[in-house]
Structures are given as C-alpha cells and as structure tokens.
C-alpha cells in the first residue's frame, strides 16, 4: 500500500475546535490531494498540494506537504458540524492515471 496505517482513524471533536489530520506515504509523489466524503455522497476534492509547495490554504483549510518525511497534513480551523465527514488523502500512482486513496479519517464534529 502507498499509505501508512495511521491514515485510518476516527476523531470526535466539539464544534469550534481546530483539527489536524495526517497522512504518510511510502513512495515519492509530486502531488497530494485531499478529498472529503460526506455521508451518502461521493468524495469531493478539497485541496491539492504539490511537492514544490510546503503549505497551501483554502478558506478554513490548510494543507502541508513534507517530502523529506513523506507526509502530508490537512488542518481545519474553527470546525463546524457540517465538517463531519471522512477525509481522504490521495496521490497519483506510478501509472499516473491511477489515483491511490488512503483509508481515510472519520471526523465527527459535535454541535
């Protein structure tokens, strides 16, 4: 598998708290994508970070990529109940058309 086991976890937090989710990957990648999947829906991309970027922000989201440690993180500030979802990291495979997904982090934000 491309992804480390710590990618599978569940988090339960109170609305308003900040949260950080982590992924570690095993083989070099130039791009890490983060997706969110709400209950009953398909995954939707939140943010993409490239190997020449250490950090990327989009609204309340912040993604980081550390190629030296082969890890990426997604932070959400001021969480809302509507942020409750499964969050996946993903990266292209050596076959560039394939995208490999981590097993996901189940985030539950309590109102």
């Amino acid at each position: 598998s491309q992804w480390g086991e710590e990618n599978l976890q569940a988090l339960s937090i109170q609305e308003g708290e900040d949260v950080t989710m982590n992924c570690s990957y095993k083989t070099y990648t130039t791009v890490v994508q983060w997706y969110r999947q709400k209950s009953g829906k398909g995954p939707a991309q939140l943010i993409l970070i490239r190997s020449n970027e250490r950090e990327k922000r989009s609204g309340r989201l912040r993604a980081t990529l550390d190629t030296s440690s082969q890890s990426s993180s997604l932070s959400i500030t001021g969480t809302l109940a509507t942020d409750t979802a499964v969050y996946f990291c993903a990266t292209p495979d050596t076959n560039a058309y394939k995208v490999i997904f981590g097993k996901g982090t189940h985030l539950h934000v309590l109102p």
Binding site: V31, K41, G42, Q45, Y97, F101, K103, G104
Partner: protein, 114 residues
C-alpha cells in the same frame, strides 16, 4: 454543469443475476474510473478507461467488466453477481492527460447482492 451521474442509486439483486451500473459525465473528460468502497478498505480501483474502447484493469478487476462506447458514458457489468460484490460503487472522471490532479465523483450506487 460539471457533473458525474450514476444510475441507479440503489440496487438489490440476487446472487447469479447480471448487474449493470451506469455512469455519465458532462465534462468531456477522457478518463473515467470505477471504484468500490467497503468499510475499512477505503476506495479500491476496479477499472480505468482512458477513452472510448480503451480500458485497463485496476487493482480488483476480477468478477467485473466494463464498456465505454461513448466518451461520456462508462458502464460496469457484473456477470452472475456474487454476495461479496455487495458494496458501494463510485464512478469518477478526470480531464486526465498526464498526472491526474483531480477526480470528479458521482454519488455512488449501493448494490446489495442477496
């Protein structure tokens, strides 16, 4: 409207029946995918289609076949469905030439094989 549409949303079949899952996209994307999602296993790639009649096996193709006769449509076929094919199936597309930077997913089809 940038949409991937899957039909049907829910499907119940008996073991041994044939199953057809259909997917359409309105973005003229070249590349389309079928994934299945099971609890604890994440998203597993079944097939990739690079364009019309240009398909390639993914990581778990056994028991499945696909058809793509038009760029905007991609079908997943289960011949003689098995109970272990009960799952949620997602279709996705990407503009895909070179490294894929974004997948657009449909809402999924929940298939139960009894």
């Amino acid at each position: 409207d940038m949409k991937v549409t899957q039909m049907p949303r829910y499907l119940i079949k008996r073991m041994g029946e044939n199953v057809l899952l259909e997917c359409g996209q309105d973005m003229s994307h070249e590349t389309m995918y079928w994934y299945r999602q099971d609890p604890g296993l994440g998203l597993q790639l079944i097939y990739i289609s690079y364009d019309v009649d240009s398909n390639s096996e993914g990581d778990i193709p056994k028991g499945y076949r696909v058809s793509r006769k038009k760029r905007e449509h991609f079908s997943l076929i289960l011949d003689s469905a098995k109970t272990n094919q009960t799952s949620v199936y997602f279709c996705a597309s990407s503009p895909g030439t070179g490294v894929v930077e974004r997948l657009f997913f449909g809402h999924g089809t929940k298939l139960s094989v009894l």
